[in-house]
């Protein structure tokens, strides 16, 4: 489904991505772990064409997206949903308008159908009846869930999640994890989650990949990750300041 090869990206003076290889299968849930600032968000932004790599290739369903024109990228993007780290809700719009924006912009649906769909997606994330609220008046967990409702409004085949649970209390984090897993299992959505939250990673992943120093240094199932002898991964999993990862 998604095939990343040799992706490199330099930002400022920092080589953020330095040859990333990663495969994500159809309907699979892959969690990309890594320390803050290793370039997890940068990686996701490449997958959806918000950033262009210096080198490397990204294929979506066999189609190379590196070097595509914005217009052609848009066709690819319509199959994607993305939940941003800070939810990135449009704060000049109401919650309902946020969730319905892509529907109104891209599909010729009548207003009643849009409203029905918006209400349905908000119900899926457990937030019925908040359509008329402004994002500014929502709590962190609610913002994330509205962001999620917006990401799934267009029935995407792939959803990218940038730190969906970071900064939430453990109970709200579990609610979000359940939603993500539910969408993947129920609708067969290909899922890419970027996080440094291990609890989430274990709950969400079919496969875990570890990003370190601009490369994917490890991939494995949850069990393989738990019991790996790889010193980098062990240090991360055990949350230790001692080891090969320099602090």
């Amino acid at each position: 489904m998604i095939r990343i090869r040799g992706l490199t990206k330099r930002l400022g003076t920092k080589q953020v991505l330095d040859g990333v290889d990663l495969d994500i299968g159809k309907g699979e849930s892959v969690v990309v772990m890594g320390r803050s600032g290793t370039g997890k968000s940068v990686l996701l932004k490449h997958v959806i064409g918000l950033m262009t790599p210096d080198q490397g290739s990204i294929e979506i369903d066999g189609q190379e997206i590196v070097g595509l024109k914005e217009h052609d990228l848009d066709e690819v993007r319509k199959r994607f949903g993305m939940l941003f780290q800070g939810a990135a809700l449009f704060d000049s719009l109401t919650v309902g308008e946020n969730v319905g924006l892509a529907l109104r912009e891209h599909q010729r649906l009548d207003e009643r159908e849009v409203r029905r769909r918006v209400a349905e997606r908000l119900e899926w994330v457990g937030l019925s009846g908040v359509e008329d609220m402004k994002p500014a008046s929502l709590s962190g967990g609610m913002r994330k869930r509205v962001g999620l409702a917006r990401a799934i409004a267009m029935d995407p085949q792939v959803i990218l999640y940038d730190e969906p649970t970071t900064g939430l209390d453990p109970i709200m984090a579990d609610v979000i994890d359940q939603l993500i897993r539910g969408l993947q299992r129920r609708l067969g959505v290909t899922t890419v989650v970027v996080t440094h939250d291990l609890v989430s990673a274990y709950k969400l992943a079919d496969r875990i990949a570890m990003l370190h120093d601009g490369k994917v240094v490890f991939t494995g199932t949850v069990d393989e990750t738990r019991h790996t002898q790889d010193p980098l991964v062990r240090q991360f999993v055990q949350g230790s300041s001692q080891g090969p990862i320099a602090v």
Partner: protein, 267 residues
């Protein structure tokens, strides 16, 4: 040591020059995209109307106050300079022409440039640093179509409207001062207005306003999009948008005046 300093100075200037050229390049690209997305952008006409409303509402009182006092000052100054040389029956004419050719468009441009340019830059800058611009693109909604076109078009439409309005207020302000403290009769003032009203003066003022509107909207959007690095970056973007708008308004005012009155209306 001294050589070193000279070298550093030269290097600094060269870097600034390159930065500046890059900046001009980015603005040019933005204007190119603006034209490319003009037609699709205008299809969401509601967004344009909404922007026109917020520009009008946001700047109306400011424009009223500024124009009123501009007219009043113009009256006082003109009366002082006329003293015994020029008869006061020309007072209305002088105020009229200086307001509609120059003062109305330029002062409205500067005031709205400060107010609207800053608010556009702040809004888009905040959207940039909170990833809302990325979110739009990820939803396959082009930011130039959805954000830039409505704002620039609204500025271009609203500025001439506000200039007409500002002209009227300024002429009224001049009238009040002329009648109450200079001793020109209302009749004389109005005769002066009528005698020296030329449509081409009005047109040239409105043409300026049209360009000023474009400058304000484009600079606001450009610096908004160029924002980096949190709240501090947003503050910087607003300042830059306002400074660039004001400088470009004054420069283009000169260029337009030169073209209009030396070539087009010269005969």
């Amino acid at each position: 040591m001294q050589e070193d300093l000279a070298l550093r100075g030269a290097r600094y200037l060269r870097r600034r020059a390159f930065d500046w050229i890059a900046e001009v390049g980015r603005v040019t690209l933005l204007i190119g995209e603006l034209f490319r997305f003009l037609a699709p952008g205008l299809r969401s006409f509601g967004l344009v109307i909404q922007q026109m409303g917020s520009i009008g509402v946001g700047s109306l009182w400011l424009v009223v106050v500024v124009s009123l006092f501009t007219g009043a000052v113009a009256a006082v100054q003109a009366a002082y300079q006329f003293s015994t040389v020029v008869p006061l029956k020309f007072l209305g004419a002088v105020i009229l022409r200086s307001v509609i050719i120059e003062l109305g468009p330029v002062l409205t441009g500067l005031v709205v440039g400060g107010r609207v340019g800053a608010s556009i830059a702040a809004e888009l800058g905040t959207m940039k640093v909170t990833e809302q611009i990325d979110a739009l693109r990820a939803m396959a909604i082009h930011p130039v179509r959805y954000l830039v076109v409505p704002r620039v078009v609204a500025s271009i439409v609203m500025l001439p409207i506000m200039v007409v309005f500002a002209n009227a207020i300024a002429i009224f302000g001049g009238f009040v001062v002329a009648v109450t403290s200079i001793g020109v009769s209302a009749h004389t003032y109005v005769i002066g207005l009528k005698q020296f009203f030329y449509l081409k003066d009005l047109y040239s003022g409105l043409l300026k306003a049209f360009f000023f509107g474009g400058i304000i909207g484009t600079m606001g959007c450009h610096y908004g999009f160029a924002t980096e690095g949190g709240a501090e970056g947003v503050g910087l973007a607003t300042t830059r948008a306002v400074v660039a708008s004001c400088v470009l308004i004054l420069i283009s005012d000169y260029v337009l005046a030169h073209m209009l009155f030396r070539f087009i209306f010269a005969s």
